[in-house]
C-alpha cells in the first residue's frame, strides 16, 4: 500500500508526471537507439500507420487540448509508437511549445508496452491509454475522428495482441517470458485471434452494432481463456491485468490535470465527504488520497455498467449524423463524475442475523447519534449531506423524511415533536371530518366535492397497485390514500386534487405508515411542489424554462438542437418534473432519489440537474437519430425503467457543481421547489369544469 501511495504522490503533480513521461520515453529512446545502432542503423523506419487529429487533453479547457499525429513505425521488426503535437497551432497562448513537447511521445517500442486499454464510450470520443511495462502510462489519446479499432487492428498485425480475459477493453501486448511460450502462442493463438486486415474483418472495436460487438468480445474472451487454461497456466499467472499496481497505474493515466484537480478536491477532505461547495477548477492540487484507487476501480465498473447493461440508454456506436461534441470535456473522463455513494444511512448497523424489529431499533440508534440529548439535529447540513451521498435505510426513513420535507424542524426536541404530532393528529381529524360529515343529500348539491371525490377514487385504485403495500381488493392503504387526498383537497381547497398527487403520496404513506403523519408530510411537500399542479401550469413552465437554461449552459449543442427542432418547451420532460421521476424508477429507487433531492444539499433544484444528466446521457442518440418532438417524447417516456439511478445521480452532482453559480443564476427565483416569493393567496386559480 505504501508503495502505491508513493507512486500516487509522484503522479499527483502534473509537471512531474509529464516530465517523467518525457524522461521515460527519452530513456527508452536512448536504450533503444543503442539497440538500433547495433542492429540496423542504416535501415530507415517504415511508416505503417498514421492518424491525424489524435489529441491529448492536459486540462479541462478545450483551448488547451493538444492535437497531433499518431504514428506507428517499424524498424527492424520492432514496432514503435509516436505521437507528435502539431507545430504552430497555438490556439492558446498559455500553451507554450515547452508544454507541447512535454507530452510528445517519441518512438516508444512496443517491447516496452505492456497493454493498451481502449475506451469507446457511447458518449464522446474514443481514446486509448497506452501502459508501459514500467507501469507508467501515457495520457489518454483521443481519436477525434474515430479509428481506435483500425489502430488496434494495425498494431495487431505487427505485435501479438491478446484481449485480456478479465477486461475486454484491455489488450495485452505480448510479454511472454520465454521464447518457447512465445512460439507456442504464435502456433496456437492466431487461429482464435485472426489478424485483422485493413478492413474490419474482425470487429475488435466498436462493431457495427453493439450486440455484435458484445457477442464477438465474449467469444474472444472465451477463446483466450480456454487457451490459457489448456496450456498456459504460467502465462495466466503473468497476466498483467492481474497485477494490481499496473492496473491502478493504468487507471491513473485517466487522471489528467483536470480530473486530478477535481478528484483531489472531491476526495481529499474527511473521508471523501467534505464540503464541495466551491468550484473545482480553482482548487489547489493536494496530495492524492489513497482512496482514489478504489474510486478509480468503481468508476471503471460503473462505466461498464451504465453503458453496456443499459441498452436503451446506450447510444449506438455509429451515429447517423455528425453529432456535435459535448462541450463539457469531463463527459469523456468519466473518472470525475460525482462521488461514489455510501451505503444508505443506517445500513452499517444492519445485520442479517437479527430480527427486523432489532434492525429497526439499531437503525434508529444510528440516527439518534446525530441528535443532541433533547433530540435536536445537531448539524442539519451533516445529516443532509449524509443522505445526499447514500440515501437512508428504509427503516429509518420515517424518522428522517419529516425533517427533509420540513414537517419537523431540525432544531425541534423530542418533546416538541411529540407535541406537534398530537396537535397535528387532532387537526387532521378535524379536517377529515369536514368532508366525512357531508351527507348524501348535501353531496347531491355539492358538485365540486363529488367531482373531486370521483377523481380521487379513480386515481387511488390505479396508483402503484402492483406494489405489495397497495395490492389486492379492499386494501386499507388504498383507502388511507383516498382519505388523505380528499382531506388535502379540503385543507387546500384552492389547489384541490390533481393527477400526480397520488404518485407523491403513495411512497410517503408507505414510509410513514400513519395517516396523519403522512398527511402532514404530504402537506409539507406540496408547500414546495404544489405549484406543479397550478391550473395555469405556471410552476411547470418555470421549471421547464429553468431546465432549458441549464441545458443551454451545460450542453449548448444539445440546446441548439432542441431549438432548431422546436423542442425548446421541454414538454418531453413534463412527467419527470411533475412527479419527480416517480414513473421512471422502481419504487425503492424512487424513494432513494426523492430523499437525495429533498436534502436540497447541493441545490434546491437538484431534480433539474437530474434531468440534464439523463438528457446528456442520451444526447448523441437524440441528435444522431434526429429525433423530432414526437419521437423524443416517445423515447423519453420509454426510458422509464431503464435509467441507472446511481450513475445518473452522480452525473447530476457533477453537473450541478460544474454549473455552480451560473447554474443557480439560470433558475428564476421562486421556481419550485423553492418556496413561493409572495405570501398572498397561494393558489389563485379557478377550478371550473371545462
Amino acid at each position: 500500500m505504501s508503495m502505491e501511495a508513493t507512486e500516487l504522490q509522484d503522479l499527483s503533480d502534473d509537471a512531474d508526471y509529464a516530465a517523467s513521461q518525457q524522461q521515460g520515453s527519452a530513456s527508452m529512446m536512448r536504450s533503444d537507439s543503442g539497440k538500433r545502432s547495433l542492429q540496423s542503423e542504416h535501415e530507415d523506419a517504415v511508416l505503417i500507420y498514421l492518424k491525424d487529429n489524435v489529441a491529448i487533453h492536459p486540462t479541462q479547457f478545450a483551448s488547451e487540448r493538444i492535437s497531433g499525429r499518431l504514428k506507428l513505425t517499424k524498424q527492424d521488426s520492432v514496432l514503435f509508437l509516436s505521437w507528435i503535437p502539431y507545430k504552430g497551432q497555438t490556439s492558446n497562448a498559455k500553451l507554450s511549445e515547452k508544454d507541447r513537447s512535454l507530452y510528445t511521445i517519441t518512438a516508444v517500442p512496443f517491447t516496452e508496452v505492456r497493454s493498451i486499454r481502449r475506451h469507446t464510450p457511447a458518449l464522446g470520443w474514443q481514446y486509448v491509454i497506452v501502459v508501459l511495462s514500467s507501469g507508467l502510462a501515457f495520457p489518454p489519446l483521443y481519436f477525434y475522428n474515430g479509428g481506435v479499432r483500425e489502430f488496434l487492428a494495425m498494431v495487431k498485425q505487427h505485435v501479438f495482441l491478446a484481449r485480456s480475459s478479465e477486461d475486454q477493453n484491455v489488450f495485452i501486448v505480448n510479454d511472454f517470458q520465454s521464447p518457447l511460450q512465445r512460439t507456442l502462442s504464435s502456433l496456437e493463438l492466431p487461429s482464435s485471434l485472426p489478424v485483422a486486415s485493413g478492413q474490419s474483418v474482425y470487429p475488435l472495436d466498436g462493431g457495427s452494432s453493439s450486440e455484435n460487438q458484445r457477442r464477438t468480445s465474449s467469444d474472444v474472451g472465451n477463446r483466450v481463456s480456454s487457451v490459457s487454461q489448456s496450456g498456459f497456466r504460467k502465462q495466466k499467472s503473468h497476466d498483467p491485468t492481474r497485477d494490481l499496481s499496473i492496473h491502478l497505474l493504468e487507471k491513473f493515466s485517466l487522471v489528467t490535470k483536470f480530473a486530478r484537480d477535481t478528484t483531489t478536491q472531491l476526495f481529499s477532505e474527511n473521508n471523501g465527504f467534505g464540503s464541495i461547495d466551491k468550484r473545482w477548477n480553482n482548487q489547489p492540487v493536494h496530495s492524492y488520497p489513497e482512496k482514489l484507487s478504489n474510486i478509480a476501480e468503481e468508476k471503471h465498473h460503473e462505466i461498464r455498467h451504465s453503458y453496456s447493461e443499459n441498452d436503451l440508454l446506450k447510444d449506438d456506436e455509429i451515429s447517423y449524423i455528425d453529432v456535435p461534441a459535448d462541450p463539457l470535456e469531463f463527459d469523456k473522463l468519466s473518472l470525475m463524475w460525482g462521488k461514489p455513494r455510501q451505503p444508505p444511512m443506517g445500513h452499517k448497523e444492519r445485520r442479517n442475523d437479527i430480527s427486523p424489529s432489532i434492525k429497526c431499533r439499531i437503525s434508529t440508534e444510528y440516527f439518534t447519534a446525530l441528535l443532541d440529548s433533547e433530540g435536536r439535529v445537531v448539524e442539519s447540513k451533516a445529516l443532509r449531506e449524509r443522505v445526499f451521498y447514500g440515501g437512508i435505510e428504509h427503516q429509518l426513513r420515517r424518522e428522517v423524511w419529516p425533517f427533509l420535507l420540513g414537517y419537523y424542524a431540525y432544531d425541534s426536541t423530542y418533546a416538541e415533536r411529540e407535541y406537534l404530532r398530537s396537535v397535528k393528529r387532532m387537526e387532521y381529524a378535524t379536517l377529515k371530518q369536514q368532508w366525512q360529515s357531508i351527507s348524501p343529500e348535501q353531496a347531491k348539491r355539492f358538485t365540486k366535492y363529488r367531482e373531486r371525490k370521483g377523481l380521487i377514487d379513480k386515481d387511488v385504485v390505479r396508483t402503484d397497485r402492483a406494489f405489495e403495500y397497495y395490492e389486492g381488493d379492499d386494501n386499507l392503504h388504498v383507502n388511507s390514500m383516498r382519505d388523505i387526498l380528499l382531506t388535502y383537497s379540503f385543507y387546500n381547497f384552492d389547489l384541490g386534487y390533481c393527477q400526480g398527487m397520488s404518485d407523491y403520496l403513495s411512497p410517503i404513506l408507505f414510509v410513514m405508515e400513519d395517516e396523519s403523519e403522512s398527511f402532514w408530510c404530504f402537506v409539507a411537500l406540496m408547500e414546495r411542489l404544489g405549484p406543479n399542479f397550478n391550473r395555469d401550469q405556471n410552476g411547470m413552465h418555470t421549471q421547464l424554462f429553468a431546465l432549458s437554461k441549464l441545458v443551454e449552459l451545460l450542453d449548448s449543442p444539445l440546446h441548439n438542437y432542441f431549438k432548431e427542432n422546436d423542442c425548446l418547451n421541454y414538454f418531453f420532460c413534463f412527467r419527470w418534473i411533475l412527479i419527480q421521476f416517480k414513473r421512471e424508477f422502481e419504487y425503492e429507487k424512487t424513494m432513494q432519489l426523492w430523499e437525495v433531492m429533498w436534502t436540497h444539499y447541493l441545490s434546491e433544484h437538484f431534480h433539474l440537474y437530474v434531468c440534464v444528466a439523463v438528457l446528456k446521457r442520451c444526447r448523441s442518440k437524440i441528435m444522431g437519430e434526429q429525433m423530432d418532438f414526437d419521437t423524443l417524447l416517445k423515447f423519453i417516456n420509454e426510458l422509464s425503467g431503464h435509467i441507472d439511478l446511481d450513475s445518473t445521480v452522480r452525473d447530476a452532482e457533477a453537473l450541478c457543481i460544474e454549473a455552480g453559480e451560473n447554474g443557480a443564476a439560470s433558475i428564476p427565483p421562486g421556481t419550485p421547489p423553492s418556496l413561493p416569493l409572495d405570501d398572498g393567496t397561494l393558489y389563485p386559480q379557478e377550478d371550473d369544469v371545462l
Partner: protein, 200 residues
Amino acid sequence: MASSGNKNINAKLVLLGDVGAGKSSLVLRFVKDQFVEFQESTIGAAFFSQTLAVNDATVKFEIWDTAGQERYHSLAPMYYRGAAAAIIVFDITNQASFERAKKWVQELQAQGNPNMVMALAGNKADLLDARKVSAEEAEIYAQENSLFFMETSAKTATNVKDIFYEIAKRLPRVQPAENPTGMVLPNGPGATAVSSSCCA
C-alpha cells in the same frame, strides 16, 4: 395532417376524454394487445405508433394519448394541433364522462382541423349492467355532429381494432379518388358497429 408517400400514410391521432374513460387502455389494447385492470393515470402525454393496412394503403398511426384531467386541459392543443384524427372517449357507465366528451367535440370543431376524422368511443362496453349512457343517445349525438360512433371495450378488445380501422378508412388520402375528401358519412341509426361508408 395525413401525408402520403406512395400509399404509405402517416396519420397523427389524438385521444381525448375524461379521466378514467379508458384512453390509455384503448391505445394499449390497439398497440400492444394488452390490458391492465388498474392502468395508471397518464401524466403529461404518451406517444405510440401502430400501423394498419387499409385498402391499398398502409396507415401508420402516430397516437397521442393525453391526460384526462381538466387541470391539464391547457396542454391539449399542443397535442391535437395538426392531428388528422381524434378519438373522443367516454365511459358508458359514467354520464359525466359523456358530457365531457361533448365538450371535447365542441373544442375540436371550433379549433381543430376541419378535415379531422373524429370518432366517438363509448368505452367499457363490457360493463353492461352499469351502463349510464345508452347507445342510442350517443349515436344520435354522433350523427348530429358528423362523428362516427362505436362502443368499445379495451378489456375484451371489442371493436378496438375496428375503430382505428374505420378511422384509417376515412382518412382523406386513403379514400378512393372518386370520393370527396374530408367527408365523413354518419352511421345509420342503430348501427353502432361500422358505418355504411363507401368501399372500393
